[in-house]
Amino acid sequence: MSGAEIGTTGRAAAPPEAAPRREPGGAGAFWRRLRGRRGALLGLAIVAAFAVLALGAAWIAPYDPTATDWGAVRAAPTLAHPFGTDEVGRDVLARIVYGARASLGAGLTSVALAVALGLPLGMLAGYAGGVVDGAIMRLTDALLAIPFLILAIALAAFLGPSLTNAMVAIGLSATSIFVRLTRAQVQAIAAEEYVEAARAVGNPPWRIALHHILPNIVPAILVQATLTIAAAIIAEASLSFLGLGQQPPDPSWGSMLNTAKNFLDQAPWMAIWPGLSIFLAVLAFNLLGDGLRDALDPRERP
């Protein structure tokens, strides 16, 4: 699960210097550029598919994900159970479908929390400067010094095992990424001439922050948020694997992997499907995030 590190080190460090700008063409051209990238479209399609599974789980899943069937314990895939069954006869397909809910829900909720905390703090640090900036950034640096997943595990253990607590733990762990990114973006945009022009028009500071700086940093935040969702999904799976996230009998890809590891020889399908799901979801969000970055900032095209 070392992939979670991507969220804190490689990805977080890269974007701040390059402030993605609104580029010629506005929304229409943005979609044209996104459509032209096969990877981004594939990512978007997979994300959409998982979203459909998560939202429509009640209708799509062929069985109740917690219903046991002692007549079909660790049954290999058949027409009745296309993905097989687990150690107490629950349908793996149904659990994968419902697991999408836990994974995507945790990814989105925790990143939403991280943005909700990190964006205002980062704007405050970047715009106010001075002592406020110093205090916020020292705290952020301290949090960034702790590996993302380790911090999430520690917080989740402290808060107690539940999916909600896992989301909070992941969200808090990812907050520092957004504080730092937002601050760097705000400082870059604040140096732009149109911000000085806005001051020359008589804008008070709060109006400059909300009307002139914020809209111009949204693209960078959006890209980082998409990439961080991928890291958050891995973190949720890790926490659930360790028993700190989704509690049995409710399904989560991470906890499914945990039980599956005991039956790798006898029932490999118990591990393959949740593993594949995690892999696909993380890949999809990474592809989408990269595509968004390219579409929002054509100058950075490889």
């Binding site: 700008r21 609104r22 580029e23 010629p24 506005g26 732009e192 001439e193 149109y194 000085e196 022009a197 806005a198 001051r199 020359a200 028009v201 008589g202 804008n203 008070p204 109006r207 009307h211 002139h212 809209p215 111009n216």
Partner: protein, 346 residues
């Protein structure tokens, strides 16, 4: 260009007294503006010329509290605008002056317009902030302002973003923003520098027309003498944070009294003469002084072939040039016309 110079009876619209601006840095204090004084009457157009680093832009930004502090600071002087000292106003009160009573137009219309805001929203901004207009009437005014700056099909173009306009049109939008609240003073900082020559001419013509319609005073900052000649009543030459010469445009251009002004004029091509009548362009030797360690006397003395011993030790005051048109002021210890005449004889 016949606006009368400010009469001594009526207090001028803007009076700058001994303005000094400094930037504190690692290498010492940089004196960007060093004792600048002048007045600007209602409806007068003042062209300020000088090269980069002459303090021409910094001093107007400092007036409006727009220089970054720190490292910059106003180290002295007063700026009276309609009788109030802008330098003594608290930030809140200055915000009510900026964009309302004093409009500004910046150099590069691409980078000075917010790429993420429609043109209508940007023109509406000063109207909403200063006049408290609601969204709908601000939009209607924005439309009128686009008409005012001669942008065709204004109604259809309100919701476009800056990149969907040409360079000249973007500068027209900037002018519309600057004029939105009918300011008494419009400050244009290198407003035509980033534009093509033909577009420059259009903008200058537009500003001249708008001035006739609205009657605001203008401070036009540029390094382009041609633009000043076409627009200004009074010209002021700045160098190394000081005013070296100032006077009615025709008087200064036809009878320059400072060697720096002469150097600027001589470095311009004269396209009106035929090929035979053309002369070699002359550049001003050397480069501007390091403002952390300015020369003790006249700042231009090290580059000035006419400099006297006194120029190198003592800074000349700005005063009426002897034998020149009234209001034609110069800071020089030497008598330039006499020196040129002697040169021509030799």
């Amino acid at each position: 260009m016949t606006a009368p110079p400010a009469s001594p009876a009526a207090p001028p619209l803007l009076e700058v007294r001994d303005l000094a601006v400094a930037f504190d840095g690692d290498g010492g204090t940089l004196r960007a503006v060093d004792g600048v004084s002048y007045g600007l009457g209602e409806g007068e157009t003042l062209g300020i010329v000088g090269e980069s680093g002459s303090g021409k832009s910094v001093h107007v930004l400092a007036m409006l509290g727009l220089i970054p502090r720190p490292p910059g600071r106003v180290s002295g002087g007063r700026v009276l605008f309609c009788g109030r000292d802008l330098l003594a106003l608290p930030e809140r009160a200055l915000q009510r002056v900026r964009g309302a009573e004093i409009g500004m137009v910046f150099q590069d219309p691409m980078s000075s317009l917010n790429p993420a805001m429609t043109v209508a929203a940007q023109i509406a901004e000063p109207l909403r902030i200063h006049l408290g207009l609601d969204a709908r009437s601000a939009r209607a005014r924005a439309r009128d302002l686009l008409d005012l700056v001669r942008i065709p099909e204004a109604g259809r173009r309100l919701d476009l973003y800056p990149h969907e306009f040409s360079g000249g049109q973007r500068q027209r939008v900037m002018i519309a923003i600057g004029l939105a609240c009918r300011p008494k003073l419009l400050i244009a900082d290198e407003a035509t520098t980033a534009l093509d020559v033909t577009v420059q001419a259009e903008i200058v013509a537009l500003v001249r027309e708008l001035k006739r319609e609205i009657g605001m005073a203008i401070i036009w900052i540029t390094h382009d003498l041609g633009v000043v000649a076409g627009l200004a009543d009074t010209v002021q030459v700045m160098y190394a944070g000081r005013i070296l010469e100032r006077g009615p445009v025709d008087a200064v251009f036809s009878d320059p009294r400072n060697a720096y002004t002469l150097g600027l004029i001589r470095s311009l091509p004269d396209l009106s003469r035929g090929r035979a009548g053309r002369r070699r362009l002359r550049q001003i030797e050397g480069s501007p002084p390091d403002m952390r360690h300015p020369p003790p006397g006249d700042p231009f003395a090290p580059r000035n072939p006419y400099a006297t011993a006194r120029c190198r030790t003592e800074a000349p005051p700005l005063r009426q040039a002897p034998g020149a048109a009234p209001g034609h002021l110069v800071a020089a210890w030497y008598d330039l016309p006499a020196l040129i005449a002697r040169e021509d004889r030799a």
